[in-house]
């Protein structure tokens, strides 16, 4: 008989604390599946960021390190430089990466640090209860943007497009944006993650996969509505696809076979 389902080895068989419809669970599973496929569970280290995914170390069955809010790329730099043959995953939310830790992210990318950032962009602060994120859309409501994000009169700025910003840096080698709102996008996102991890293990430069993810609780929607909102509102601003691929030919050949 052919096995059509198995729980990933790198993910503990327990229920997560994430809200119904939250994207973190799916993203965790994709990471765990890729790690299993690459056979690197014993050589993986995840940095779990401040935010809802601070719980990631409860679910992933491999080593983890938790640094202060936003310092995730700095911590990942220290770990990867000491363990160059390991898979180091810098898991970051939009606040961690694009607000408090912008400096760390930009400079790690610019140095071409050889770890992979998984950037979970849900356009809102989850754990602290729905505050405006750097990626919150114009007009989107948040507890700290009660009348909607207003870049002009209230001076709240515009959604930060992280990949587009990092693409100008020579140290970045692979930047792709996926989403987890439907099966097709989930599968594509998994391919991006796999390509980034393989590139990292080959010792190529900085790799990042941004993933548009749902936060039904703080968006004030049910899970089904939130899938639709992600597509209708987020995707026009944060375009899906591979934004930069300067990986070596061998990396691309392997991914294509």
């Amino acid at each position: 008989m052919e096995a059509i389902y198995a729980h990933p080895k790198s993910l503990k068989p327990i229920q997560t604390k994430y809200c119904p419809g939250c994207g973190h669970g799916v993203i965790h599973r994709l990471i765990a599946e890729v790690i299993d496929e690459l056979g690197v569970q014993e050589k993986s280290v995840l940095l779990n960021p401040v935010g809802c995914s601070i719980w990631a170390d409860l679910y992933f069955d491999f080593d983890s390190v938790q640094v202060p809010h936003g310092r995730t790329p700095a911590g990942a730099t220290g770990i990867k430089r000491m363990l160059p043959d390991h898979l180091v995953i810098c898991y970051q939310g939009d606040g961690d990466l694009a607000a408090i830790g912008t400096g760390e992210a930009v400079h790690a990318a610019n140095r071409g640090e050889k770890f992979t950032t998984i950037f979970v962009n849900n356009a809102i602060y989850g754990m602290t209860g729905g505050q405006m994120a750097p990626t919150t859309l114009v007009g989107q409501k948040a507890t700290t943007a009660p009348f909607g994000r207003d870049p002009v009169d209230a001076g709240m700025g515009y959604p930060v497009k992280v990949l587009e910003m990092l693409a100008t840096l020579e140290g970045t080698k692979y930047l792709a944006r996926g989403a987890v709102n439907n099966v097709v996008n989930v599968r594509k996102t998994k391919q991006y993650i796999k390509k980034a991890f393989e590139a990292q293990l080959r010792g190529e430069g900085f790799t990042m996969v941004e993933i548009l993810s749902q936060c039904p609780t703080n968006w004030g929607m049910d899970p089904v509505e939130s899938n639709a909102w992600l597509e209708s509102s987020m995707m026009p601003v944060f375009k899906l696809g591979v934004l930069k691929d300067e990986l070596s030919v061998s990396a691309n050949k392997e991914a294509g076979k």
């Binding site: 050589k43 080593d63 310092r71 700095a74 220290g78 000491m82 400096g103 140095r111």
Partner: protein, 353 residues
């Protein structure tokens, strides 16, 4: 075996000592008056194929150290006062995660951007847990280039022994001056034992998680209690000091680092005048050497705390002596180093001689 003496700046000597202690990774950001240390590490770490990164900020530097230390590697950073303020977040997290790492603070005058001249205004920050939360870490205070090298070398061992950051609290004088220094034997980082708690190489064991968070107050209380039992053990075993001519002293000068050098000079001048003056020099600022200082308390003996600040260590001196001896203060701030002559005048004033 001790090597032949070399003439070096304190900053460079601390760098060489760290390299010899098997430091595998250095992360720093330029700031005066400790720049020679960062430059020394750049040259010697890269030459030895170890890790050196000029970080984008102090905040990043300490968190790179945090990451490297999480793998069980010997890692350090260095800075001066304003930069150390920025590192406090990372130091609090390191204490919360029980990570061994080494931090060197070549103090300059503050607050704010302040000046670049030597000062001792970071005593509170260093010894009280300068970041948020309930914690302490070892603080070692060298008085000379030789001691700066020796304490830096030892700091890596102490950090691992006690599973905590160790701060070497120097100042601009110790960093910038040159003295003769000999070094201990170099250690090979490749031969250091792997730490059972570290991340990486997860073979035949449960996953290791380096973290400082615990949202259950009951459980967190237990974690902190356990850490404080370790602090008690450190207080029992680690108090270090140097004592000169205290036995018959009517007045004991209490000073650390550069201030202790000035105090030594003033003490010698006072003794030549027939004044019974001694000196007590804490080498560990945390734990403060309260056991021995307390033994010296006597209603007939006075104490004079000498600092390059407006008076910070004096609080520990007063707490220790607990009203049993009179304590007064002599200090200079803003980057001034007190002179032996001015201190002697104060000694004579106190002793009415």
């Amino acid at each position: 075996m001790a090597q032949e003496k070399r003439l070096m700046k304190g900053n460079e000597a601390m760098g060489e000592a760290a390299v010899r202690a098997g430091c595998q990774a250095y992360f720093g950001y330029p700031i005066t008056p400790q720049n020679e240390l960062t430059a020394y590490m750049a040259r010697h770490m890269i030459e030895k194929k170890r890790t050196f990164i000029q970080a984008e900020s102090e905040t990043s530097a300490i968190n790179m150290v945090f990451g490297a230390a999480s793998t069980g590697s010997r890692a350090m950073t260095s800075s001066s006062s304003p930069g150390i303020s920025l590192k406090q977040e990372g130091i609090s997290f390191s204490c919360g995660a029980d990570l061994p790492l080494v931090i060197i603070n070549v103090q300059r005058a503050g607050p704010g951007l302040g000046g670049i001249a030597p000062a001792q205004g970071d005593y509170f920050q260093a010894t009280r847990g300068g970041g948020h939360g309930d914690y302490y870490h070892l603080v070692l205070a060298p008085k000379s280039v030789q001691e700066a090298a020796d304490l830096t070398y030892e700091a890596f061992d102490l950090a691992e022994q006690w599973r905590m950051p160790v701060m070497v609290l120097a100042d601009g004088m110790i960093g910038q001056m040159m003295e003769g220094v000999s070094f201990k034997e170099p250690k090979d980082p490749a031969k250091m034992p792997r730490k059972p708690w570290a991340v990486g190489h997860q073979k035949n064991r449960e996953a290791n998680h380096i973290a400082s968070t615990q949202l259950d107050p009951e459980k967190f209380n237990i974690v902190i209690d356990e850490r404080f039992r370790r602090y008690d053990e450190i207080k029992a075993k680690m108090q270090r000091y140097e004592e000169q001519e205290c036995a018959d002293a009517d007045l004991v000068l209490v000073a650390y680092g550069t201030s202790a050098r000035v105090s030594l000079g003033a003490m010698q001048m006072a003794r030549e005048l027939g004044l019974k003056v001694g000196m007590f020099r804490p080498i560990t600022l945390w734990p403060f050497p309260e056991k021995r200082l307390s033994e010296l308390a006597d209603p007939k003996r006075k104490f004079l705390c000498v600092e390059m600040s407006k008076g910070q260590m004096i609080q520990d001196v007063r707490l220790t002596l607990n009203g049993r001896s009179e304590v007064s203060f002599f200090g200079r701030s803003g980057g001034l180093i007190p002179t032996e002559e001015d201190l002697l005048a104060e000694i004579r004033r106190i002793l009415n001689k």
